[in-house]
């Protein structure tokens, strides 16, 4: 379903991590156009990919990496403390043993065959984060989320912003946020995973109806 890669099993998954860094570059740099200082071309591994970093990776049936995310303890240097502290103007970014920071929530949609699979893979990635947190006594995850992603986060985890939306010029805003992780959210996520077909069918319905006709 998903793999959780920690310091303990990192060696066994060396190839998977390698592929994950390449996949991240494809999406984050090539598709989203981010400018990340200090990384190699084709390989998105930055200063927050450390020995302590935990990865959740989702693999396709053929072993290809289709989605991944990473978590760092907030007791050490992390993105909110090092780069975006001034974004947190509503409340200070939380620092504690039971708060970790999640970043690089990335899925490669070009590898997915249909919307149901796409939905399920995102569910799996989210489930991986929740499962790791519950197993390791982590009660909150902090993030810097893209404005368009914020509602997906708050749909699953009880979330509140750490700061006001920040944008450059006319562009999308970024919102620092913190989410609670508990058993209830795991249940909700499992339900969404189980009902993926029904949920996607429901919101795809008007689309199928309208595309029934064709132009010549």
């Amino acid at each position: 379903m998903f793999k959780i890669i920690t310091a303990g099993n990192r060696e066994a998954y060396r190839d998977v991590l390698d592929e994950m860094f390449r996949m991240r570059y494809r999406i984050v740099v090539d598709e989203w156009g981010w400018d990340i200082p200090g990384i190699q071309k084709g390989y998105d591994k930055d200063q927050f990919d450390t020995d302590e970093t935990i990865y959740v990776v989702v693999l396709a049936d053929n072993g290809e990496v289709v989605a991944s995310s990473r978590m760092n303890p907030t007791t050490g240097p992390h993105m909110l403390s090092e780069l975006f502290a001034d974004y947190c103007d509503l409340q200070p970014y939380p620092v504690a043993g039971d708060v970790w920071e999640c970043s690089r929530f990335v899925t490669d949609r070009s590898l997915m065959s249909d919307p149901v699979e796409d939905f399920r893979i995102r569910c799996r990635l989210g489930l991986g984060l929740t499962v790791f947190c519950l197993d390791n006594g982590i009660t909150r995850l902090s993030w810097l989320t893209h404005q368009k992603f914020y509602n997906l986060v708050q749909r699953v985890w009880k979330t509140e912003p750490l700061g006001l939306p920040k944008r450059e010029g006319d562009n999308w805003a970024w919102i620092p946020a913190v989410s609670q992780i508990d058993k209830e959210t795991l249940d909700l996520q499992m339900d969404r995973y189980r009902d993926a077909e029904a949920i996607v069918a429901q919101y795809m319905a008007p689309k199928y109806k309208a595309s029934a006709g064709r132009i010549a």
């Binding site: 914020y150 064709r214 132009i215």
Partner: protein, 242 residues
């Protein structure tokens, strides 16, 4: 921002998150926006009312009933420059800003609300991943002068309200904002200029069959049934120039 105190914003967000009915949620928002000189809320998904019945979309407003009815009967949303801008804009914008770029019909739609004492306002577009866009439009009878910080405060509270309502009242039908590829846009653009498939093929230096397939793909994406429908929809969705 060093001395900034965001406690009133956090308080408002927490209050919204525990509301259990749409009325409660809107009352919380009303209370919050009062301090910015704003009085009226118009919140909803931006879909073509000709395609989707109003009961199937997220739509909440405390505008006067008569005004709502008037707008509905005129299909005002189709000409409303505020709604049209919101589909494309990645940031909040004032009604005046949208009005500046509007057609004559569009300006009439903006001005329609003046008779009801709503003379100035600001729109917060709502865009989620893989889902239909919407917006929260706040208006009032006063001339607005909001600082960037105040706009950001309103934005995060509006966003919380919007998605809280979506969770509470949803799920709503899914309508993806189609995005055409470069080649598809070119073909549709020439189709809009009255060119035949053969002519488009000559202009672009590709096979006629490729043009036909590209237009069909574009048509599927835009969920349209014939050439005229495709061109009209592509313009309406700002995929090509009119």
């Amino acid at each position: 921002m060093r001395d900034y105190n965001g406690s009133k914003v956090l308080e408002a967000i927490r209050a919204v998150q525990v509301t259990e009915t749409a009325n409660e949620t809107i009352s919380e928002l009303s209370r919050f926006i009062e301090q910015y000189g704003l009085e009226r809320i118009f919140l909803g998904q931006l879909v073509n009312p000709a395609n989707v019945p109003i009961k199937d979309i997220l739509y909440v407003s405390d505008w006067p009933e008569e005004l709502k009815e008037h707008r509905r009967s005129q299909m005002a949303i189709l000409h409303d420059p505020i709604a049209i801008c919101a589909l494309r804009s990645k940031r909040p914008f004032s009604w005046a800003e949208a009005r500046e770029h509007a057609s004559r019909a569009g300006r009439m739609v903006v001005d329609m609300v003046h008779d009801y004492g709503i003379t100035d306002g600001i729109m917060f577009p709502m865009h989620a991943l893989h889902s239909v866009s919407g917006g929260v439009s706040l208006g009032g009878g006063n001339k607005l002068s909001l600082s960037q910080t105040q706009i950001a405060e309103l934005e995060i509270v509006c966003q919380t309200v919007y998605y809280h309502l979506e969770n509470m009242l949803g799920p709503f039908p899914y309508q993806k904002v189609a995005e055409l590829t470069h080649r598809e846009t070119q073909c549709v653009q020439f189709a809009a200029a009255g060119k035949s498939n053969w002519e488009i093929a000559q202009i672009l230096g590709i096979q006629e069959d490729t043009v036909k397939k590209t237009l069909r793909r574009a048509s599927d994406k835009m969920q349209t049934v014939n050439r005229a429908h495709l061109v009209a929809t592509a313009i309406a969705k700002s995929q090509i120039f009119p």
